[in-house]
Amino acid sequence: MKATYSASGQTLIFEENLCKGCDLCAHVCPKKILTLDKSRVNAKGYNPMTCFDIDKCIACGMCGIMCPDSVITVLKEEKAV
């Protein structure tokens, strides 16, 4: 299941059922906008990682780089020149 968080300039897509709730992405995120959803479990039985403030995301990609399970896709809107 894909969970998509989108703001005007940036999008995060989590492949939620692959998430193991390890917290590494939240740990390295410079904006501290990622948190485990303790109210839900995914197909693997883990609390899935979620984004609670996509407006603050700078689309740096660090969460994606650190996720061992390739859960996260990070997209950035390119400004038209």
């Binding site: 692959l18 660090m62 061992p68 997209l75």
Partner: protein
């Protein structure tokens, strides 16, 4: 127009990885896969999986793969490269696989200067079998077979593989890198790319030692296991280039 800042590499298959939550094996798999795609060699690469937690690496790398007996991956790599010199051949090995049962194979592959790449994942423990002491286990570190900490009187001091192999004249490139934060993960990828590039140029034996974590084996959280790499492992296993022929 949206630009992809980060997405899963096509160098990996769609098979979900069976590693424990937060295991850095997953990060290292991604770095190797991304490198093979960026160097445009995925289609002509043969990976050799070890025995250890990464025994199923052949399920994850989107290239041809073979799984070798415990520690024997460098011998398999050597034979494969000799009979398929146009292929890119790499082994993926843990520290139990490479530095314990497979010590003979790795030493002689390096000494012959086999034109292969070794991805050496050092997590200072036997992960798969339940966190036993490895030759790389740190002094005083508690494991399931050293419950009072590794004693050097009985077990010796931890073996430094990169330092040791870099003494062999036929070795082209050895670097030790870490996976404990994003900057180091990026540097690790650069080292992996250099190793594969050297192999493509026919320079000889290349190895990247990646300091990795086994949070389950250490009995800490995934985030805490990154601090273990930084604060406990790096002081004993200094990062850096140990051999570079260029």
């Amino acid at each position: 127009m949206s630009k992809v800042v980060y997405e899963k590499s096509r160098g990996l298959t769609d098979v979900p990885m069976f590693y424990c939550p937060g295991c850095t094996h997953g990060i290292i798999h991604k770095l190797v896969a991304e490198t093979l795609v960026e160097l445009d060699v995925l289609e002509k690469t043969i990976a050799i999986a070890p025995v250890g937690c990464s025994v199923l690496a052949y399920e994850y790398f989107n290239c041809d793969c073979i799984q070798a007996s415990h520690g024997r991956a460098p011998a398999v790599a050597s034979g494969l490269k000799r009979t398929n010199p146009d292929k890119i051949v790499f082994t993926y090995q843990g520290d139990g696989d490479l530095a314990a049962i497979g010590t003979s194979e790795i030493v002689h592959s390096a000494h012959r200067g086999d034109n292969v790449t070794v991805i050496f994942v050092n997590n200072a423990i036997y992960g798969m079998t339940g966190g036993q002491m490895a030759p790389t286990t740190l002094t005083d570190m508690k494991t399931s077979t050293s419950p009072f900490g590794r004693g050097t009187a009985s077990s010796g001091i931890p073996i430094k593989v990169s330092e040791m192999l870099s003494q062999l004249p036929s070795v082209a490139y050895i670097e030790r890198v870490s996976t404990h934060d994003v900057a180091h993960v990026r540097a690790a990828k650069k080292a992996i790319k250099k190793a594969f590039t050297y192999q493509m140029e026919g320079r000889g034996f290349t190895m990247v030692e990646l300091l990795s974590s086994c949070n389950i084996g250490y009995g800490v959280s995934p985030v805490e296991s990154l601090s273990f790499i930084k604060d406990a492992m790096i002081p004993y296993y200094p990062l850096g280039i140990y051999k570079d022929v260029s």
